[in-house]
């Protein structure tokens, strides 16, 4: 069967793919390609005047300590927030996967609700929650005599990044929980039934049945969670705008402030911001490839162990 006849044979498959492909081309591929193109320009973004500057924007970004500082904060966000989100979401998913828990749908909805709430609204509300002036969180901590005076969670450079990170974890851990729940659904029920007949305890079931089956899903869930954690612009911009004095400025905020809201009212630099974005995207892609490579090595090792046993 030739390629042409194969395509014709599966024409309905390709036809159904067309809407998704067109949307993907328009809203994913085209902006991505244009972003790469813009990164080679000296361009403000609002004029017809632009000049090709080769890798000058990349060289500038590589030498810009503010870019690397924001890059470091984004990585810190990933390194800290991802494991916390994964662990909390897994625990919640395991609990809520229990058929005996009658209120499970209610709790699932409750945990998922922040996910579908607009980040900007969450940011504004959580700013009030964190406020050292009549903020409920400080009121509770003071009421419990855990602190002597209110903590300036968002205004203190030592706590601002961690405070927005906590909000990010709370807001989005519901989506990770849904991923874990979906993975848990793949564990055949008769495994649990057999384990119960054999007298296995909860920990043994988790250790010897649930976790090994979930492991292949962990790589992709980790990747999706890491990707989500890197997109925290809405929350950070509304809660701290990257401050105080850049203490919570991640790469996304850096790019926005360079491209659309430059410090001191200077002319926006869409070309430079695009270069910073592409550079960051490249680094993230490398991390993702490393993760995939590590996942495959784990799978291979598991397969080897299975064969060996």
């Amino acid at each position: 069967m030739t390629l042409g006849s194969k395509l014709w044979h599966h024409r309905w498959v390709y036809l159904f793919m067309v809407p998704s492909a067109v949307l993907g081309l328009l809203f994913t591929l085209y902006p991505t390609v244009m972003s790469w193109y813009f990164s080679f320009l000296d361009w403000s973004g609002f004029s017809d005047n632009s000049s090709f500057v080769g890798f000058a924007n990349y060289r500038e970004a590589m030498a810009d300590p503010m870019f690397w500082d924001s890059f470091g904060r984004s990585l810190l966000f990933v390194l800290v927030a991802v494991p916390i989100r994964l662990t909390l979401a897994l625990l919640a998913a395991i609990v809520l996967n229990n058929q005996a828990l009658k209120l499970s749908p209610l709790f699932r909805t409750m945990f998922f609700l922040p996910v579908v709430t607009t980040a900007a609204i969450v940011g504004v509300v959580m700013s009030l929650m964190y406020s050292p002036f009549n903020g409920p969180i400080n009121d509770v901590l003071m009421g419990m005599h855990l602190i002597a005076k209110p903590i300036d969670f968002l205004g203190d450079p030592g706590t601002s990044l961690w405070s927005v990170m906590a909000v990010e974890v709370w807001k989005n851990f519901g989506i990770t929980m849904i991923y874990w729940l979906a993975a848990l659904q793949t564990v055949p029920r008769h495994y649990y039934e057999a384990a119960a007949l054999d007298g296995a305890g909860r920990w043994q079931v988790l250790r010897h049945i649930t976790m090994p089956i979930l492991l292949p899903f962990a790589a992709i869930i980790t990747l999706l969670t890491a990707n989500s954690v890197l997109h925290t612009f809405g929350i950070i911009q509304t809660m701290t705008a990257g401050g105080p004095f850049f203490a919570s400025q991640t790469v996304e905020v850096f790019i926005y402030q360079t491209a659309f809201a430059p410090a001191g009212g200077g002319v926006p630099r869409l070309g430079y911001a695009s270069a910073a974005g592409c550079l960051f995207g490249l680094c993230v892609m490398l991390i993702a490839l490393l993760q995939i490579w590590a996942g495959r090595r784990v799978a291979q090792a598991r397969a080897h162990l299975s064969v060996g046993s």
Binding site: S47, G155, P157, G243, F245, A263, G264, G265, G266, V267
Partner: protein, 505 residues
């Protein structure tokens, strides 16, 4: 002078506030609904060739804000005079206009008349997007004469002898000391003559009086315009034009002046006293404004754009207006070119251009200037000296606006401009990459303890700014512009006087 981006934030905040209240964009000829007119518009017959058929002209303006008050009444009066003309008047927050206008212009789907904000007019002119108003506004040459020196400027609105935008307002404004009248009365404080020392003491006294219920002073996380104004009033010669801290007499950046160090020490002392509202370092402008009106602080250093918000959202809030603390002999420079640049789309139909030109004409008349001053208040002062004089001496506007305008009249003076001296410097402005961090961010870093060596931080800023300007000049030169670093030096600058046309010679 109010730093431009700070003003944008202030005005943009109005839009955000209204948006959160459920009204992000006001549309239609009367915006917020029919209200009794408060100004008797004297619309002249300009000789414009207006259409006789039903015609709709589209406007896009920044708002909602003080300008909304003017245009709601002006458009209603205009339509009453011309029943066949409908003005479709839309508003967006200024920052949204800055983002969307270039795209609308590129696509050709744009209003006939619009506000140009944070987009260099020169770029739009070069791309052929804007109509030359010389051909749109009736009797243009004669009409233009009413604009005072420094209002329509080569390199800002005028290119190759043609004018592409006009403004109904000047940039003659500054930040102010706004205070909670009840708190200060209770404390027995008179803010009209605060020095830095008495200001600090007042903040401390108010904090003690508040007993944790309110604090002496509230500031937003970044307050660059306030720092510039405080410094200038105290005699530090740094100019707030485009955020560049230049001493116009020497042409050099002056962030590291000893007076600036003293100002940082004052702010640090106020913070150490515990007089700053807790959590200030994460407060946006609009949040600080709201906390102030809710009684969270006794004083705020901010601008007149707060007045309409408080009037709408906190009508019971009693506040007063005073000049910023500092010596009574200080002056604040403001930039040439005015504010609120209105332009006409190059490809609008002749009929709609004629209507826009007819409306623009009114903005430059005596009646238009008085109406503008009356309805927009101190946030956007009219450029007409006569209109300003009339309104300060009258009781047609409320006390906060009149007090603010009076303070501007006493303390704000026209600054020299490299653009007026040499319009080619527009290329330098376009090439200028503002150093990071800027003054507002450096002050934030100093107050949060992230920058511990104040002198070094300010000197670094001066050095970086110097390099940025030199780089921009070099780039402009490489593009063929005949510019020089000396264009930034005005040895005869006297901050207590307007820098007039004669001073350039």
């Amino acid at each position: 002078m109010v730093e431009r981006r700070q003003l944008m934030k202030g005005i943009g905040g109005l839009g955000l506030g209204a948006f959160l209240a459920g009204c992000g964009v006001s549309t239609g000829e009367n915006g917020g609904g029919p209200k009794a007119p408060t100004f008797d518009f004297d619309l002249p017959d300009t000789g414009a060739k207006l259409p006789t058929a039903q015609t709709t002209v589209r406007w896009l303006n920044g708002g909602p804000g003080p300008k909304t008050y003017f245009f709601n009444e002006f458009n209603a009066a205009y339509q009453k005079k011309h029943p066949n003309i409908k003005v479709q008047y839309d508003e967006l927050p200024n920052n949204k206009i800055a983002e969307t206008l270039p795209i609308q212009l590129r696509n050709g789907d744009v209003a006939d008349a619009f506000l140009v904000i944070d987009v260099p007019i020169s770029e739009l002119v070069a791309a052929g997007r804007l109509a030359a108003l010389d051909d749109v506004i009736p009797n243009f040459a004669e009409w233009k004469k009413s604009f005072p020196f420094g209002t329509l400027v080569s390199g800002v609105q005028v290119f190759d002898g043609k004018t592409y935008a006009i403004t109904p307002s000047s940039d003659r404004r500054s930040t102010l000391l706004l205070y909670n009248s009840d708190y200060l009365t209770k404390a027995g404080l008179d803010p009209s003559g605060f020095t830095w020392e008495t200001f600090r003491a007042a903040a401390k006294k108010l904090t003690e009086q508040g007993k944790g219920e309110y604090f002496g002073l509230i500031l937003p996380q970044v307050f660059m315009g306030v720092v510039f104004d405080l410094a200038q009033l105290s005699g530090v010669r740094i100019a707030d034009v485009r955020g560049d801290g230049i001493d116009w007499r020497t042409g050099e950046f002056n962030y590291h002046h000893e007076g600036m160090v003293a100002l940082m020490e004052l702010l640090l002392a106020i913070k150490a006293d515990g007089s700053l509202f807790p959590g200030w370092a994460s407060l946006k402008d609009e949040q600080a404004r709201a906390r102030m009106a809710q009684g969270g602080a006794g004083m705020i250093l901010s601008g007149p754009w707060n007045f309409p918000v408080w009037k709408e959202q906190n009508p019971g809030f009693k506040y007063g207006v005073a000049r910023l603390p500092g010596p009574a002999t200080g002056y604040i420079p403001y930039a040439v070119g005015g504010s609120n640049q209105f332009a006409v789309y190059a490809n609008a139909s002749a009929d709609r251009k004629a209507i826009a030109g007819d409306q623009f004409y009114y903005l430059g008349t005596d009646s238009g200037q008085r109406a503008w001053n009356r309805l927009t208040g101190a946030a956007d002062p009219a450029w007409s000296p006569q209109a300003m004089k009339d309104i300060i001496g009258s009781s047609v506007i409320d006390e906060p606006n009149r007090a603010a305008l009076k303070i501007f009249d006493q303390t704000v003076r026209l600054a020299p401009s490299p653009l007026v001296r040499n319009p080619a410097n527009e290329k330098v402005e376009l090439a200028f990459v503002a150093p990071k961090p800027n003054l507002g961010q450096v002050v934030q870093g100093i107050l949060t303890g992230q920058l511990t060596d104040v002198r070094k931080a300010l000197k670094d800023l001066s050095d970086k700014s110097e390099k940025a300007l030199n780089d921009a000049i070099a780039k402009a030169k490489s593009q063929g512009a005949n510019v020089s670093r000396d264009d930034w030096k005005f040895g005869n600058w006297d901050p207590s006087k307007d820098y007039t046309e004669a001073d350039y010679k």
